[in-house]
């Protein structure tokens, strides 16, 4: 079982989700403290105890972060605050501070070892200069040297948003190719089983690895594709969607790459047992009898049996196939005498499976289930059908307004969600004007709902729009 052996190597990533969450909390605290120092500096003289005390506290927090790194860097981009590569959750108070920075053409701050509290106070007073003072970068740098601010560096605003349009479009195109290739793999796999031939595990593994690589690089591009309407292909697409959603949750939770790949294979294979259901049952153009439904409900067993017979198949695919409907309650199946404790991977696959079913209900059957309502349904199942903490992580990953959600803004504009941010209510969206997909070519059309003006958010979601009913083809935007 070489794949399992590889998986056991313990790397840094194993605990990085935990570490990352703690780091984000610390960095948010630093930024909040910085806001406090800046505010105090506008109210009190340099020697005032209030200012000294807040500068001391900030220095301690920065020094704590400096223990493991050579500098502490914050960047502002698209209304978001980043520490290293992580987006830091900000509230409206911090958003106002970020706006002040942006007005002063400050795109980021770097704190270096050797920093003192006097230097922090000098920097705070320095930032009280008028916005126009910061227009000339050379002058600013000179002034900082003159003030003795040697361990703080100011970055200019990064124009990542402005150049994003073309590259995002390119990435989306690439993601679509990867997605369709994965659908083809599922089709090939199904055909192999149908013809009693061996599943091409090399093809499956390569496909999943490509999905993993793409999700690690740009999770949003592939996640957006899971909400597309492809009814005639949905049987195959569903397996790919579950694989993508499972992989995405795995990467969100900072699983190791090999773990994530195993999760992807498990997601892709979870429903393979349905191949055993007789054609006259599965294609029956009418409601199934109880006996026929029992046959369908056997698919976890049949899938696991099939996968047990595939030599190079990861064991977790077999386990997940068997367990993905075992919810530890009477509705779970197959019914066993003993309660089956689902493996965490089976729980992840089950959540992805259920979420895709909610999306399908909305997309294919026009069941009026707004995205946030779908999320509410998932949240309601917490602790009963699904493990509560995994649902929470899943929702944090997918967002309250998942990618592809069409939203109405308080400005009267219509937009489509393109990316998640740290604030679940404030994703990045593409403002729709022509509704023909051409908005993607306009670099100004994608905006972050975290952006503020005069201390207030520029745009806020006030409702959602069902795209099929509104005849908005989201494929033009996410595929």
């Amino acid at each position: 079982m070489p794949e399992e052996q590889q998986v056991d190597s313990r790397g840094e990533a194993r605990q990085s989700f935990f570490a990352k969450q703690q780091l984000l909390q610390s960095t948010r605290a630093v930024f909040q403290q910085l806001a406090g120092v800046l505010k105090n500096s506008s109210l009190y003289p340099a020697a005032h105890p209030f200012l000294l005390s807040s500068a001391d506290k900030l220095l301690r927090q920065i020094n704590e972060l400096l223990v493991m790194r050579k500098d502490v860097s914050f960047y502002l981009a698209g209304g978001e605050l980043f520490f290293e590569t992580n987006s830091v959750p900000v509230d409206q108070g911090l958003a106002a501070l970020m706006e002040q920075f942006t007005i002063r053409n400050v795109g980021g701050l770097i704190f270096r070892p050797g920093l003192t509290n006097e230097e922090i106070i000098r920097f705070a007073h320095f930032m009280n200069n008028e916005a126009k003072f910061f227009a000339d970068r050379a002058k600013v740098e000179e002034a900082m040297v003159r003030e003795g601010i040697m361990h703080i560096e100011i970055h200019r605003v990064l124009f990542v948003d402005k150049k994003a349009g073309a590259s995002i479009k390119e990435e989306t195109k690439k993601a679509t190719e990867v997605f369709m290739s994965a659908v083809d793999t599922v089709k090939d796999m199904v055909q192999s089983v149908h013809q009693d031939k061996a599943i091409n595990m090399r093809q499956v593994n390569t496909t999943v690895q490509t999905l993993v690589d793409n999700i690690l690089y740009n999770r949003d591009a592939l996640m957006g594709l899971t909400s597309l309407k492809m009814y005639d292909e949905y049987t195959f697409v569903h397996s790919v969607n579950v694989a993508i959603l499972s992989i995405s949750l795995g990467t969100y939770l900072s699983f190791e790459k090999t773990q994530v790949a195993a999760l992807g294979v498990a997601g892709m294979m979870h429903d393979i047992g349905k191949m055993s259901v007789p054609l006259e049952v599965i294609n029956k153009p009418d409601k199934l009898t109880n006996e026929e439904w029992e046959m369908v409900k056997r698919h976890p067993i049949e899938g696991a049996l099939m996968l047990a017979d595939v030599p190079a198949m990861t064991k977790l695919a077999m386990v997940s196939s068997f367990e993905h409907h075992q919810h530890g309650d009477i509705r779970g199946y197959p019914r066993m005498d003993d309660i089956v404790q689902q493996h965490p991977f089976s729980q992840i696959v089950a959540i992805a499976d259920a979420y895709d079913a909610i999306v399908a209900a909305r997309v294919y059957y026009k069941v009026p289930t707004p995205p946030e309502q779908g999320i509410s349904i998932m949240l309601q199942k917490r602790g009963t059908v699904f493990k509560a903490v995994l649902v929470k992580a899943f929702v944090n990953m997918i967002g309250i307004f998942p990618i592809g959600t069409v939203v109405k803004l308080n400005t009267g504009e219509i937009g489509i969600v393109m990316h998640q941010t740290r604030d679940l209510r404030r994703p990045r969206i593409l403002i729709l004007t022509t509704f023909d997909g051409s908005e993607r070519d306009d670099p100004q059309a994608e905006v972050s709902l975290l952006e503020t003006a005069h201390g207030n958010y520029t745009r806020t979601i006030i409702g959602t729009i069902e795209p099929v009913g509104a005849r908005i083809d989201i494929k033009k935007y996410v595929a």
């Binding site: 049987t235 349904i377 509560a388």
Partner: protein, 532 residues
């Protein structure tokens, strides 16, 4: 049924137009494929601004179905069958779109509408499970015909123009959205701990454990009366499951994880259908290879007795009782190191206690030490059956074997063992006789017949310094097991012969007097006990 062979079939274009399309119905009977091609052409010609060719084609088929509905009823079946054949004759992508993307979609949407309130109770629900199971694209004419019939009963939706911004339906946000977001924002310490544990899954240990658990479940689930799989298919699937278990077992043994290995071994002994039994028997045979057992015994020796490792390995070996006993007996026979031999004997006393017949076979071995070890192990099993086996070794030419038998008999005890033990009184070796005499004093179950055997032994004793010690021992033991008859026999020692050594006779007389007294005391005790 139109299968893949219909793909790409090129048919001559039908002379049809939008205004004359109802005239085509008759062609359904004679040339459904031509009808199908003509419908596609018509769809392309008449596709509206706000619809796709597929949408248009679906509308045309609906319309055709409705036209059939107004024809005489006896024509319906044949015409719908022709219509189904027409659909199935389309090129694969279009056929898939029509059948999966339109006809089944309509069926599913109606089903959802019917069961709306329950839709989200089960996630994913029954309909989703069926829909995501329609992998095969081998639809029958009958299935498509049924779908077309039900579709024809529904009204044809005209193409919808784009919705203006003002007319878009806005679903307002739920009032508790902020509360939800707030709740989701941070992870509690408990949640972080849970996520940490989840993050540690997907490791070798939990994968193997989950896989073993699943495979054992599967062993009992291969058969299903509803699916009615051929027996050879079931045997194949069962064999696949067992093969996986075998692989995992050999991996676990390499990793020396005997806990999980024991579970696998136990599962191989589960009751299964008759046709699966040969495969299980094969697996059991494979799993108990001498090499594996030897390795486990080596492991067992390394682990401190009573430790977790020791107990796990022991439990695993115990599972393969017979095979393990065989291997251990072989090892024991060949082992040069005394310490190891003792370890093995100890182990066999426990593990082999239910393998009496197997160990008894060793009593025929030509090597005396093999026989002695077998006796030693057998005697741990304190049963009547063991005593029967020991008869074989009673007259073994090797003294150590006979001594082992005597020790064993004393340990086992009982009437049968005592009788056998008394046979050693006639042994040619004095040490053996001494051991038997002593043993008769210790063994439970020695009584009149054994006392009689001892009397016979004493009768033939000569009065010599060399023999006197053994004779005195015999007299002493007779006091312990003898009865009134024995007491009478002991009276002979009271008379001293002048021509024999006085000192030796007095030694015997003193011993006999003590024994007689002992017999009388026991007799009195027995009487008192009976009197109560």
């Amino acid at each position: 049924m139109a299968g893949p062979e219909a793909e790409g079939a090129s048919k001559p274009k039908q002379e049809i137009t939008a205004s004359t399309r109802t005239l085509m119905l008759g062609d359904l009977l004679s040339d459904p494929e031509g009808y199908g091609a003509a419908m596609v052409e018509l769809a392309r010609q008449t596709v509206g601004e706000n619809e796709t060719v597929e949408d248009r084609l679906f509308s045309l088929y609906k319309e055709a179905g409705q036209q059939i509905g107004v024809r005489p009823e006896d024509e319906h079946e044949a015409l719908f069958e022709g219509l189904a054949k027409a659909v199935l004759s389309l090129d694969a992508p279009l056929r898939n779109t029509m059948v999966a993307g339109k006809l089944y979609a309509e069926l599913d949407a109606d089903a959802v509408a019917e069961q709306r309130p329950e839709l989200m109770d089960d996630l994913p629900g029954e309909l989703h499970e069926i829909m995501t199971g329609r992998y095969p694209r081998d639809w029958t004419v009958q299935q498509v015909k049924t779908l077309l019939k039900r579709s024809a009963r529904k009204k044809i939706d005209p193409p919808q123009p784009p919705v203006s911004l003002e007319n878009m339906v806005i679903a307002p946000l739920p009032p508790n959205l902020d509360a939800i977001v707030q709740e989701l924002a941070d992870y509690t310490a408990e949640e972080m701990e849970e996520l940490k544990i989840i993050g540690e899954s997907g490791m070798e240990s939990d994968i193997i454990e989950a896989a073993v658990r699943t495979l054992i479940f599967l062993m009992t689930l291969v058969k299903d009366r509803n699916l009615r799989k051929p027996v050879d298919k079931e045997v194949h699937l069962f064999s696949g499951v067992v093969h996986q278990l075998e692989e995992m077992l050999s991996y676990l043994l390499k990793k020396k994880d005997y806990d999980l290995a024991s579970i696998i071994i136990r599962s191989l002994h589960m009751p299964v259908a008759a046709e699966f039994k040969p495969r299980l028997a094969e697996a059991i045979r494979k799993t108990a290879s001498p090499k594996a057992i030897k390795e486990m015994i080596t492991e067992l020796r390394k682990a401190p007795k009573g430790s977790d490792d020791y107990l796990a390995t022991y439990a695993y070996l115990a599972m393969m009782e017979r095979q393990a006993t065989e291997v251990m007996l072989d090892l024991l026979a060949e082992e040069k190191d005394r310490v190891v031999r003792l370890f093995l004997v100890d182990l066999l006393k426990d593990l082999g206690k239910n393998q009496v017949a197997l160990i008894a076979e060793q009593l025929n071995d030509g090597r005396w030490y093999v026989v002695r070890n077998a006796v030693r192990i057998l005697c741990e099993n304190k049963s009547e059956q063991t005593v029967s086996y020991l008869i074989k070794a009673l007259d073994h030419e090797n003294l150590q074997v006979r001594q082992e038998v005597a020790r064993g008999l004393i340990m086992i005890g009982g009437k049968k063992a005592a009788t056998l033990l008394s046979r050693f009184l006639k042994d040619k070796n004095a040490d053996m006789q001494f051991m038997a005499i002593r043993g008769l004093g210790e063994i439970s179950g020695a009584g009149t017949s054994e006392a009689q055997a001892l009397v016979e032994f004493l009768q033939d004793r000569r009065l010599t310094r060399k023999e006197n010690e053994l004779t005195i021992e015999g007299i002493t033991i007779l006091g312990k097991i003898g009865d009134q008859g024995s007491a009478m026999f002991l009276e002979r020692y009271a008379r001293l012969r002048w021509w024999k050594s006085r000192r030796l006779q007095e030694e015997l007389r003193a011993a006999a007097a003590a024994s007689t007294e002992e017999i009388q005391r026991r007799k009195g005790d027995a009487r008192r006990t009976a009197g109560r």
